[in-house]
Structure formats: C-alpha cells, structure tokens
C-alpha cells in the first residue's frame, strides 16, 4: 500500500530507549530485582516454615479479629480445602507475589495519591499516566520487564505493581478530596499547618476510601498472577497456565477455584478493615 509518509519508527524509538536504560541503569535494575526477589522468597520461606494446618488456623484467627467470625470460619475451611487439593506451596508462592506487589503499590501509591490531592498540577499529570497504566494490555509490561529483570518472579511482581497501583492512587486522591470543604475551612480557621490538616483530618477521614483502593489493588494483583506466570513467576498462576497449554480442564478448574477462594478471603478481610472503627455512630 502506498502511503504519503514513511512508516513512523515508533517501535524503534522504544527499543532504543529500553536499550539505553539497560546500558545506563543496569545496576539499578539489578538492585531492584534483588530486593524484590529476596522479599518474595522471604515471604514464601517464612510462610512455608509454619505447618499448613497451623498456618490456616492463624489466618482464620486473623480474619476473625479483623472482620467477622463467619469470614474466619470461611478462611479456615478455604485454606484447608486448598491444602487437601495439594496446592499449598503454590498458594503460598502466589500469596507472596501478591503481598509483595501490594506492599509496593501501597508504599508508592499512597504518597503519590496524597501529593496529587494537594497540588492540581501534580494531579493533572498523574491522572493520564494512571489511565495509561490501567488500559495498556498487561502483557505489554512483561516484555521490557524481562529485559530489565530477567525471567522469574521479579518481572511478574513489577508488572503486578504497575497494574495494581492505580486504584490505590486514585482512591487516595478521591478520599482526601471528598473531605467536606467546611471541615477543611475549620482546620484552616484554627491555624493548622498543611501537614496537620492532612494528618489529623484529611487522611483519617479518607481512610475508608483509601482502604477500598487497597482492596482493589489486591484484587488486581491477584488477577495478574496467571499473566505473571508466563514470564516464569511460580505459584497457582503457573498451574493455571500449564493446565491451559495442556488442555487439562479438571486441573484448570481445581486451581481456578483455589485462586477464587484466596481472592474472596483477601477481599472480605480488607473490606472489613476499611469499614470497621470508623465514625462514631455505634457507641
């Protein structure tokens, strides 16, 4: 087909950019990779150190304390079910990947969200980037991630963090901006500094919304585990991936159910963590 202009070499520019980053910041990426790898493996080792039944009970008690007894019981039964399916270690690997991603999504996301809520210019720059992060097909992150971090769990974590962070940032901004204007006026009228306004009023009042963002981040990073397994991240996602390539329906469903159980447990616990102990309507 004849075109008026030659094809734009956009992909070339990106490739050159990636090469340049690897050449110049290779050691930085190695350092990041080491931290992430150590963290994920540390989680796995720590969790695997405890016998499965005992760990299931510990999780159940934590779930009960944070949310309700019903969810505690569901947690116990769910984890024991996964254990008896024989996926315990895979489940721990997946959980460690999710935990690591979420920790980074929170540690990076909340400060960015707070910053964005304070300055309109920052917000105007952040929001399109968030849109990009969320709409770009997740597979696309994996390709440069392999170049930067090799195959294995690390590119999986990085892709999960990028994919899972936007809700935390968005809802942190939203939660802080939703604090009623007259409360902000009140803090100003009493002579609060910006930090006092944020730490004493805005962030505490935004907490339920921020928790909803973290909940969303957890769910999104869970949804990334299968994709992450394509670059070599171990865990339940890898089992699903293998079942798909080998067309094993039974195993696929088994693992799928296990992932769903973990998802429900994490979702219910974090939802309750957000709604509990807020306001003073219940004396």
């Amino acid at each position: 087909m004849d075109k008026l202009l030659p094809r734009i070499p956009f992909s070339k520019w990106i490739d050159n950019g990636v090469d340049w980053l690897i050449d110049n910041f290779g050691s930085v990426f190695d350092g990041v990779a080491l931290v992430l790898k150590t963290m994920v493996e540390g989680f796995v080792d720590a969790l695997a150190f405890v016998p499965s039944i005992l760990l299931a009970i510990i999780f159940a008690i934590i779930a009960w304390l944070i949310s309700t007894r019903k969810i505690g019981i569901f947690t116990l039964i769910g984890f024991l079910f996964i254990d008896y399916l024989g996926f315990w270690y895979d489940m721990l690997q997946m959980l460690s990947l999710v935990l690591t991603s979420v920790v980074f999504a929170i540690v990076i996301g909340i400060p960015i969200g707070i910053w964005g809520s304070q300055k309109a210019t920052v917000r105007n720059i952040i929001i399109p980037i968030l849109d990009l992060m969320q709409t770009m097909p997740a597979f696309v992150y994996l390709i440069p991630a392999i170049f930067f971090f090799n195959i294995g769990v690390v590119p999986g974590v990085v892709a999960s963090v990028i994919f899972a962070m936007p809700p935390t940032i968005r809802l942190t901004m939203l939660g802080i901006e939703q604090v009623p204007k007259d409360l902000i006026e009140a803090t100003e009228a009493f002579g609060s500094t910006s930090w006092q306004r944020l730490s004493k009023i805005q962030i505490p009042l935004a907490k339920p919304t921020i928790m909803a963002g973290i909940n969303q981040s957890i769910m999104l990073s869970l949804s990334m585990v299968v994709i992450a397994s394509m670059v070599g991240a171990p865990g339940l996602g890898e089992k699903v991936y293998r079942a798909v390539t080998q067309l094993k329906t039974g195993v696929g469903v088994e693992v799928g159910v296990a992932i769903v159980i973990v998802a429900i447990i994490l979702d219910r616990i974090t939802q309750h963590a957000g709604s509990k102990k807020q306001g003073g309507t219940n004396s």
Partner: protein, 420 residues
C-alpha cells in the same frame, strides 16, 4: 456613644473580593463605577465583596446581615483570610493581616480569632472532647493542659458529660455548642460566627441566642455574627451592617436601621419586622403627669380636672413612684379629709424601660390605668397608653419616640396628655 470611644478591634478598609481570573481588570472596572452584572459580562469575574469598610469595636456584637448571595459569608472569611481580599486592608488590633506571611497569619488564627460554622464543621472521627481540643492540639499544648481547657469550654456551653461521645450522636443544637466550645477553647479575642444558628430549629435557636448573649456578657469577646435573619440580627446585634450585592448599604444600631432605613432596599427589608420584638417600652411611653404626695387630694383633683384625665400618678419629692389615684378616690378623700397616702392604689403595673413590647401585651391589656415605666430607682419615666401601644405596633411613626429617654415631668408641666 460608648462604642465610639472603645478600641477598634477589627478595621476593614476598602476591602474588595473578586472571584475569577480577571480580578485585576475587574477591580479597575469596579472603580470606574461598573455594576456587578456588567463586570460579570465584560470580565467574566464575580464580585463577592465590593469596597467594604467598617470597624468593629472591642467587646461588641457586630452583625453582618443580608440575603444569600449578598457576600456576607465572603466578607467574614476575609476577616481571617480564609479568603484573600483582592484589594484592601484588614487590620486586627492594628496589624494588617493582608500583609502577613503564612506563619504570622497562622499565629493570628491560633491566638486571636475563633470561628463557628453554619453546619458545625465538627470532625466526625473525633470525640467531642478531642474536637474541642483541636485548636490547642495543633498549637502543641500538652495533653493535660488542652484537656482541662477543653473541658472548661464545654462546661461554659453546658455540655458536661458528653466528652466521649461522637458528633453524630448529638442533636444539632448540641453539635453547635461543641462548635462554640471548640472556638472558645483557644480563648480568642474575636469570635466569627458564620450563620452559626441558621441550621437550628427556631426554639433551639432562641436558646442559643440567649446563651450567646450571656456568654458575651460574661466574657466580653468581640463577636462578628453573620445571619440572613433580621429578627436574629436585631435581637443580638449591638450594631448591624446590612449587605446587598456585595456592598454594605447601611451600618447602625438596630434602632437606627429600623427607624431610619438608608434606602429603599433596607426599608423593604425591615418592613416585615415584627415590631413588637424590637420596640421597647421606652419607645412608646408618653410623658406622665404626676402629683407630689404631700400636695394633698385637692391639688390632685384640680390637676386631673384641668388636664381632663381620670387618674394621676403620685410621686415623692425625689420622683419615686408611690402609686396612683383616681378622680373618684381623690374626691372621696377630700370629703372625708383623708391624705393622698390613704387612698393610693399601690399595686400598679410597673415595667422597666427596656422591656420589649411582646412581653407587654398581657400587662397592657389588663391594666385599668396606664402602665407605668420606671427606671432602676423606681422613678417614673413615662406611661404607656393602650392607643399608642397599638399605634406603634401598626408601624405608625408618630407613636414611636425617636429619643428613648423622655424627661421626667412634674406637676408644673402644663402640657396636656390624653391620660386614660
């Protein structure tokens, strides 16, 4: 007047606030005499407050009143720079807060000015006590100190025992008490109250007004009170500034505003006022004819005959009101050779000069002789006649005294009054 001598606490000098992008241009247009609507059309900017100038004296209650959109809430926010004025100066204790940097401004807000908001603006995640502590907390007071001050403030507004409750557990009136306590806890000189009682129902509102007046009497703070309710303004204000379209149209005492509206707008505003809540006995009393007690019944009788009245008030040498005597009684006394003392009616209706008319309906309607208005030494200042009472309520100016104080009269006064 006493207020004129008092120290100026807040001075607002030619303050203007323009909302919108072209504020500089709008100020220029405003100075050229354009109206609010024209500026909105030409520059796309909204005039919030236009060339406001006024002083608030130490210890007075200064009410800024106007309808919604008149700029009163913007104006009060200029006073602690929650909104920055576009031009003009605002002086608090002589210091221009417009020229202050953030740090100095924070200092003024922390030490000198407390604010109470229309919708209370309590922090829902904090208890009543820690809400009240907030202003002290951010100043870094120790926990014990701020708690004891906060408890004292809560005691002042009558909320002992609610310290550990949350705002949502309290009624509207109680929540606003917390708002007031929070502002008082810092012990500021100035209280800004932005429609503080407007969200409360009428009965609670009246209670709160009374309590505010009492607190004001006890603590002597300077209060700037914003309201859209004229009755409220007249009830609590020492002086009132009336606003319209961002401009102050009149500043004066409640009486001045009622009696001499500066223009049609003010006049229309005040015409629906319930006069019985504003006018006092002093406004409608007439000069009274009296007779000194030692002159005897004959003199009293002659005086009544000459003045064509059926009863007369009897006073002692110092003008202290002793009672009244009717023509019939005086006639009986002359026939039986009694002194005036013996035929006096002493259980007279007597009221102080500052009693408002709403509280007089009952007394005036039951009285058989005109109601006596007395001062604190029980001297007779004047009398209230039923006809004048009704005439004043109907808004007829000829029954209302411009000057509240009517000179005391004695028996030599020959001016005829239609007693009875």
């Amino acid at each position: 007047m006493a207020e004129q001598i008092a120290k100026k606490k807040i001075e607002v000098k030619d303050a203007t606030k323009i909302f919108g992008r072209n504020s500089r241009k709008a100020v220029q247009l405003l100075n050229e005499g354009m109206t609010k609507e024209e500026i909105l059309k030409v520059a796309g900017a909204t005039v919030g407050v236009k060339n406001a100038s006024f002083d608030v004296y130490d210890g007075e209650i200064f009410v800024i009143m106007g309808l919604s959109g008149s700029g009163k809430s913007t104006l009060v926010r200029l006073l602690n720079r929650l909104i920055d004025p576009t031009t003009g100066h605002i002086l608090i204790d002589g210091d221009d807060i417009v020229a202050m940097n953030k740090e100095q401004l924070r200092g003024v807000r922390r030490k000198k000015i407390g604010m109470v908001f229309q919708n209370f603006a309590l922090f829902p995640h904090k208890t009543i006590l820690s809400n009240t502590e907030y202003g002290l907390e951010i100043q870094g007071f120790s926990k014990e100190e701020r708690q004891s001050k906060a408890k004292e403030a809560l005691r002042l507004v009558g909320l002992v025992g609610y310290e550990e409750q949350y705002p949502s557990q309290l009624s509207g009136g109680m929540q606003q008490r917390v708002g007031l306590a929070r502002a008082l806890a810092n012990n500021p000189d100035i209280l800004l109250m932005d429609e503080a009682f407007s969200a409360l129902d009428p009965l609670i509102r009246k209670d709160m007004q009374d309590e505010l007046l009492q607190l004001h009497n006890n603590m002597g703070k300077t209060i700037v009170f914003i309201t859209h309710d004229l009755d409220e303004a007249l009830r609590i204000g020492d002086r009132i500034a009336l606003m319209k379209d961002g401009e102050i149209v009149q500043i004066g005492t409640p009486e001045e505003i009622l009696m001499n509206p500066s223009d049609e707008y003010v006049e229309r505003f005040v015409e629906d006022v319930d006069l019985s809540k504003v006018l006092t006995a002093g406004h409608i009393m007439k000069q009274a004819d009296t007779v000194q007690v030692d002159r005897g019944p004959r003199v009293a009788l002659r005086l009544m005959k000459r003045l064509r009245i059926s009863s007369i008030y009897v006073v002692d040498k110092k003008g202290k009101l002793l009672g009244a005597v009717t023509a019939q009684e005086a006639l009986n006394a002359t026939e039986n050779n009694q002194s005036l003392d013996e035929v006096l009616i002493t259980d007279l209706p007597m009221i102080p000069e500052d009693r408002v008319l709403t509280e007089l309906f009952d007394i005036v309607s039951k009285a058989t002789i005109p109601v006596a208005v007395i001062d604190e030494k029980e001297r007779l200042l004047g009398i209230i006649i039923r006809g004048a009472f009704i005439g004043a309520l109907s808004g007829n100016g000829q029954f209302i005294n411009e000057n509240r104080v009517v000179d005391m009269v004695d028996e030599k006064n020959t001016e005829v009054n239609g007693n009875g």
